[in-house]
Every structure is written in structure tokens, then in C-alpha cells.
Symmetry: C2
Subunit: 482 residues, 2 copies
């Protein structure tokens, strides 16, 4: 491990975050609220620490794959911890643990909250919550499409060939070129949604905050009742559309914007994603309709599809308390939670691409039993998968389950009931936000004690950074001098 | 598929079962109970159908791997359906669906029951329930050690080299030689347990029935209160010991009986199995002790260890209603349920061997990320694993999860609550018996409707036959003429 290059990048990330802290400071001044000094102070801390690290790391060599793991993990952690400072300093979320929970939940685009009264918070707090998600979401897309394939994490190599770039030995040049293109797409889609929401009748502040939270599949709302609070079907349909887009590989949006609209349907992952959303959404809608849950068929379709898209993209917005829905919908939503969005989207979970590879692998294993001497090739997007890749994806799935099980074990050891433990672990590891039981959609994480909150923050990071990235750092070999 | 050789073996299995039906008939006559005609009638049906099939299949070629899948799946199904006939005919379990549930639960050594009043049943019924488990248990051991390795199912090939036999192209001679050796071990251990239980003060009938159900890791008891009903610590310790032995690879017992006692500790799977039982058992005991759940430390250790061994070996005997225990113990027990016994034991679940391979594979995948050009070999019992084997085991794990998820989906679609659906699916697919919620240890499956019972029977078969065996038959390729 060449620590110096890690330190350099961490310093850079803190400097960028510090600059971003000026936006909520300006908002506080604009709304004449008293918490602008907290944001300026946090900005100062960020500049000082970030600057010091940047200076310490000056002249470092370009980071290689091995440093990539440390940069990604500690990057998200440092930025999350810095983002918590103004929330805590301003007295809006006095406990630093709570502030860190909110901030890390934001940067990991989880959307789990400890706030019981969201509407009572200052504008700066609400904007900063949304902005942490938006920044985190952009980070995730760059991570998934530019950094992880180089690190070889969990089958993300599938997209290596799609995005041409310099040799995989040096990370930075490639990240820059990919980031620039995706940044534009991300910005444009966010702008489109904000404008659409304003046309639908929402004020500019709420519209921007919700556009930030939607495109990041984060799920922080400015209202206690989430998106449902606006009581506007048009708003809900707009959010459904943009959640769906946010759960799509951003490379496809880029290709579509450059005129190649057929790119969507030519992508096997996108086809599967659209099919799951439609078929599982339809199943949920039919069950809700048979149970006469909503007054009209229109409301049934809207609420069913909203919750389905919100959960599979791991956004976590709500329009209805799904814990009151029939049990079948819970099972479908829990599975959707695990599946997650497409690779290269801002969505969390296992990722649709991996699920497709897993299903193909399952079928292949059965065929092998019938034809023990047969040679089978897995195809994805009309290319043969490298032989080690399926094992890699299976390994990812296995680690996902192991971390999940470990999370449930520790939470129940602390005395939580099984449903809450299962819900909280699934919702944080999958970066969804709302869970089941005591942390369900009509509730929040305020009732958790401090060590539980830190554990859940760790799960958010592990889930967000594709598990391998964090766990690899636990191997002694990661720290050996090379 | 050469159907003729499948038919021949199915006929043979039905004839054997028909002969076994004479034992409960004799018991009914001995206790002067009126249900002996039902057993004789069932025996007659078995002889007629079995004889007819045997005659139809005469002169068939030796079955090959491809036929193996059909023989195993339909064999268990036919025997289970025949075993239900006397239960239903005798009026002891009037509904044929209920009788089939009890019989298939027995032959798959699951131990899930629809009986609300076990003690009110006739001796013949109770003995036949225990005997179905014992016969099923023996079948499972032969299946795991002699048949599955030849079929190449789910990593069972690991044991191929251990048990020398004829070439893998023809199944029968090898099965015969292995079955003979294991039959002796199985019989001896059952006898030992029955004698030990009698010395501990239990009557011969109860002792034999419990020895049958223990060695098969089945879990059918002759008492409403399961093993706890005897109120004897000595009995419980004896059952703990024999459940543990039943969850061990029977090859090791064979080696130990031929003088090679060190075989146990030289086997990596056994070491891991022993470590899980001890460490997870200790964790459960400590939590129970801290919660002051039982009056004495002796009772705490006994109940904790009993439940731990009963669940990990998927026996399903009970001494205490674990649903009242602290939630942490539920999480541990649910995990133990999934792990299951050793390969080549009568225990169900994923199997310890596969779990060991999965964990090694997970670590290997992480090491690969650090050393992308490194070559890693998985070792098991001091032998390098063939390269495709880890993928095979991962595929098994994946299919296990998929079938599990499908089971939960269908049960909740029918209106079951999520906890009951999760518990019932886990308990039947893992061949444990008692689940959670409405099918918990203090309850049973009587409240399920008919289609749910048939679904659960299907899950028992899939779980018992290592998933692949049944699912392979769903591929069109399995039925093509070769």
C-alpha cells in the first residue's frame, strides 16, 4: 500500500466537500436562518484537514488498483464524517452520532434517517441532506463505471470494454474522462426532474431537493410524509419515471443523449431490469387490487408501481405505509430490495447485472449435470463471459449474504427483535433506507442506540462500496508494502 | 432417458417398502389394535404396483447418471405416497393429503407433522412414522455417499475418491458395496441409542421409535411434548450425543468402527462441524444464561445445546419452546438450520462441507482482488479442489436461495404472513420440521390448507434430494432420447 497516494486523494475529496458546504451556507443566509456559521466552520475544517492531507500527499505516484480500495473506502468515510459536522454544530442534529448517521446515510444514498420531525429542520439542513445524496450518487456512478472495473470488483469488469479509456494500470486519467461525461448526464437529468416537478406545482426548493434525492436513489425528502405528502399524482408519476431512470446504467443515458436511443433495449441488463419492474410491479398491483386496498384502480396502479420502483432502485421514497399491505407484497419488495438497480446506476443492492449472471450460472450448472462432458459458455450482451467472472459474481453474492447474516446476528445479540434486525440490515446493506418493524416506512432509526447506529453506518458503507472494496482492506495482505 | 431402467428401480423400491409395511402390521397385532388390515392392504398395493413395475422394467440396462436423477426423485415420491396409504386407510390420519404430508415428511427425514394429538395415535402409526424416517435416513446416506457423487451433484464429488468402487458409468455395483457397509453402521448406532435410552428408563417402544427418529435426524416423537416430555436429563443428553453422531458423515463412523478413530479429527468437515456446534451452542447458552431463562446452569447448558444440535442436524426434536427465547438465539438457530449436517450424514440443509467450500471461496475471491495475477487453489482435506467444484457449490447455494425465495413468494401469495412463510419454507426445504410463527415448535402444520401442504412436500423433496436432483428433471434436455 502506497499510503501517500491514498492521502493525496482523500485530501482532494475533503477539499471538494468543503467547497460544497458553501452552498447550504448560502441557502441559510438566503432564508435568513441562523445556521450559516456552522456550515462555514465545517467548510473551514474541511479546508484545513483536506489541505493538510493534500500537502502531505504531494508528489505521490498515481494510485494503483491496490490503493483504490483504500481510497474508495476511506474517501466515503471521511466525506461522510465531515458532512456530519455542520448538522451537529448547528444544533439541528445535536448528537454527532446522529449527525454522522444522517450524513453517511446521505453520501451512501441510503436515505435512512434518524429525524422524527423533518419539516421542523432549517432549509440549510434539508438542502445539505439532499446534496449529500446527490454528491454521493454521482460518486457511485463514477465508482461503478470507472473505478470498480479497474479494481476487478464483483463482476463489474463486464463494463470494462464498454467504456474505452487508458490502460488499467493507472486509475486517474480514465476516471477523469468517464467522470466528465457522466457528470453532464447526471446534471441534465436532475435539472429535467426539478423543472418537471416545478411544472407539477412544487416550489423550487422542494423540487430541487427531491430531484437531488431521486437521481441519487437516496430517498431523503423535505416532508415528514415523503413524496406522498404532496398529494399530487402528477408529482408521483414524475418521481416514478426519474427513479426508474436513476436505477439505469448511466452509460446508456449517455449513449441515448448522443443519439443512440436503441442502446437501452440492446442492453441485456436494462431489458431484465425493465421486465422485473413491470412484472413484479404488476403482481403487487394485482394483489393490492384484489385486497381492495386503494379506492380507485388509478391509485392502486400508482401506489403499487411507486413503491416497487422506489424499493428496487433502493430509493426509499414512500407514498403509502407498505407494512399495512398484504404479506405477498412484502416478500416481493424484500426480493426487489436485494436485487437493486443496474450496475453503473445510483441504485444499491446486488445489482441486476449480477442477478442475471447468477441465474444464467444456475441454469448452466444444471445443464452440466446432464452433460458432464459438455462445455458451457455464459453469454452476456452477446459477449462470452470470462471464465472466472461467474465465480466472482457468485462470491459477491455469498459475501453479501454473509455480511447480512453477521449484521442480523449482532443486532439481535444487542436485543433487537428479529424482524427489526432483518429489516434494518437489509435496508442499510442494500442502501434502501426504510426497513421493517421498528425501522419501517412510517418510522425511522431514532430509536436505535449509538452502537447500533455506527454498525448500520458501517453496513451502509459496505453495501454502497460493493462489499469487496471494504472487506478486502480487512485482509492483512492489503497493507503489506509492495 | 431410458425409462425402463427407472421403472425397474422404482418397482424394486416399492417392493422393499411393501415388505417394511409388515412391521407396523405386526406391531398392531401385538398391541391388539385394529389398524393391521390397513397395513396389509397397503402392503398388497405396494406388492402389486411394485411387482408390475418390476416386471415392466425387466431386462433394463443398468441405470446411468441421467436415469439416476429420475430414480432418486420419483423413488422418494412413490415410496412417500405408498407410505401414506396405511395412515389414511386406518383412519388414523383420514385425509390422504395429511397422510402424504406425514409420510413424505418422514421419508425425507423432515419431521414436520400435521398431528395435533400424537399420543392419541395407535402404536402402529407411531412406529410407522418413526420407521419412515429411519428408512429415509438410510436412503439419504446411501444417496449422498454412493449415488450423488456419480451424478456430480453440488460438490458431492468431494467424497468420490474416499469410497473406492467400480467405474462411475454404471451405478448399481457401487451402490451395493457402499450401502452394505453403511447399513451396518447405521443399524449399530440405532441399536446403541435404543439400548442407552432403555437404560435411562424409557420403555422399549418409545426407545426404538426415538432411536429411529434420532439416527435419521427426522424428529418424529411419540410424545406431544417431543423429547422434553420424558423430563429426564439423561435421556436428553443421550439424544444430544446421537443427534450429533447422526449429523456426521457416516463414512467416518465406518472408519472409526474399523479402528481408525483419528479419522474424525482428520476430516476437515467434521472439525468445522464440531467447532460450529460448540461455538454457536456456547453463544446460545450464554445468552440464555444472561437472560436467566432456566432455573439452573445445568438446565441452561442442556436445553441450549439440545436445541442447537437438534436444529443444526435438522432433527427438530424439542425440549423447550425456543420461540420464547431471546431473538439472538433465533438468528443463530436460523443460520444453523441453513448450514445443516455434514455431507454423507442424515442431516439436511446446505451441508457443512459446502459451507466450508463457500467460505474458502469467499476468501479466495478477496485475495484475487489484491493479487489479480495470482493463482489460487482451494484445499479441502489436504487435496486441491477441482477447479469447477467451487462454482458448482456456489451454484447449489444460489439454487437453494432461489427455491427458498420462490417458496416464500407462493406462500405469501396465498395469504400467509411473512414469518410463517419464511419459517415453513426454511423448515421444509432444510428438512428440519418445526419452523417459526404458526408452524413453530409448539405448534404444527395442521392449520395449513391442502395446496400449501403439497407445496411443502415438494420443498421437502427438493431439499432432501440436494435440489439439483429434482430441478434437473425440469430441464427439457433431461427427457430427450439419448
Amino acid at each position: 500500500m502506497q499510503l501517500r497516494s491514498v492521502i493525496l486523494v482523500l485530501g482532494f475529496l475533503l477539499l471538494v466537500t468543503a467547497a460544497c458546504l458553501l452552498i447550504p451556507a448560502a441557502i441559510a443566509l438566503l432564508y435568513r436562518e441562523g445556521d450559516w456559521p456552522a456550515y462555514l466552520a465545517a467548510c473551514g475544517i474541511g479546508l484545513a484537514v483536506g489541505g493538510a492531507l493534500f500537502w502531505l500527499g504531494r508528489g505521490a505516484a498515481e494510485p494503483r488498483a491496490r490503493e483504490g480500495f483504500a481510497i474508495v473506502t476511506f474517501g466515503w468515510l471521511c466525506v461522510g464524517l465531515l458532512g456530519a459536522v455542520p448538522l451537529s454544530l448547528s444544533g439541528q442534529i445535536p448528537s454527532y452520532t446522529d449527525a454522522a448517521f444522517e450524513s453517511i446515510s446521505g453520501f451512501t444514498t441510503t436515505g435512512a434517517s434518524i429525524l422524527t420531525d423533518i419539516e421542523g429542520r432549517s432549509h440549510a439542513t434539508l438542502l445539505w441532506r439532499a446534496l449529500t445524496q446527490w454528491l454521493g450518487g454521482m460518486g457511485i456512478v463514477v465508482l461503478a463505471l470507472a473505478i470498480l472495473p479497474l479494481l476487478g470488483v464483483g463482476g463489474m469488469q463486464l463494463y470494462r470494454a464498454e467504456v474505452p479509456g487508458p490502460s488499467p494500470d493507472r486509475l486517474t486519467p480514465r476516471i477523469r474522462s468517464t467522470a466528465k461525461r457522466l457528470w453532464g448526464v447526471y446534471f441534465l437529468l436532475t435539472l429535467l426532474e426539478a423543472v418537471a416537478l416545478m411544472i407539477a406545482g412544487i416550489g423550487p426548493f422542494d423540487a430541487v431537493c427531491h430531484a437531488f434525492a431521486t437521481m441519487a436513489t437516496g430517498g431523503f425528502s423535505t416532508r415528514n410524509g415523503s413524496v406522498g405528502a404532496f398529494g399530487s399524482p402528477a408529482v408521483e408519476w414524475i418521481v416514478i419515471l426519474f427513479m426508474f431512470l436513476a436505477g439505469t446504467n448511466f452509460t446508456l443515458h449517455y449513449l441515448a443523449l448522443t443519439g443512440n436511443l436503441r442502446a437501452y433495449w440492446r442492453d441485456e441488463e436494462f431489458r431484465f431490469y425493465a421486465k422485473i419492474v413491470l412484472s413484479a410491479g404488476l403482481a403487487v398491483i394485482l394483489v393490492l387490487w384484489r385486497a381492495d386496498f386503494f379506492a380507485s384502480i388509478g391509485a392502486t396502479v400508482r401506489h403499487g408501481l411507486f413503491q416497487m420502483v422506489s424499493i428496487i432502485t433502493t430509493t426509499g421514497f414512500g407514498t403509502s405505509d407498505y407494512l399495512l399491505w398484504p404479506p405477498f407484497t412484502h416478500a416481493v419488495l424484500l426480493i426487489a430490495m436485494a436485487v437493486g438497480g443496474c450496475a453503473g446506476s445510483t441504485g444499491g443492492g446486488i445489482k441486476v447485472m449480477r442477478v442475471v449472471v447468477l441465474l444464467k450460472q444456475g441454469k448452466c450448472e444444471m445443464n452440466k449435470l446432464l452433460h458432464p462432458r459438455g462445455v458451457f459458455t455464459l453469454w452476456f450482451n452477446e459477449r462470452a463471459l470470462p471464465s472466472g467472472l461467474a465465480t466472482h459474481v457468485l462470491g459477491f453474492f455469498l459475501l453479501f449474504v454473509l455480511v447480512y447474516v453477521a449484521g442480523v446476528l449482532v443486532l439481535t445479540l444487542g436485543g433487537r427483535d428479529l424482524v427489526t434486525a432483518v429489516g434494518a440490515t437489509a435496508a442499510t446493506l442494500g442502501n434502501v433506507g426504510p426497513g421493517l418493524g421498528e425501522v419501517g416506512p412510517a418510522s425511522n432509526y431514532a430509536g436505535m442506540v449509538d452502537w447500533e447506529k455506527w454498525l448500520l453506518m458501517f453496513l451502509m458503507l459496505i453495501g454502497r462500496l460493493e462489499i469487496y472494496t471494504v472487506l478486502v482492506l480487512l485482509l492483512p495482505g492489503a497493507w503489506r508494502k509492495s
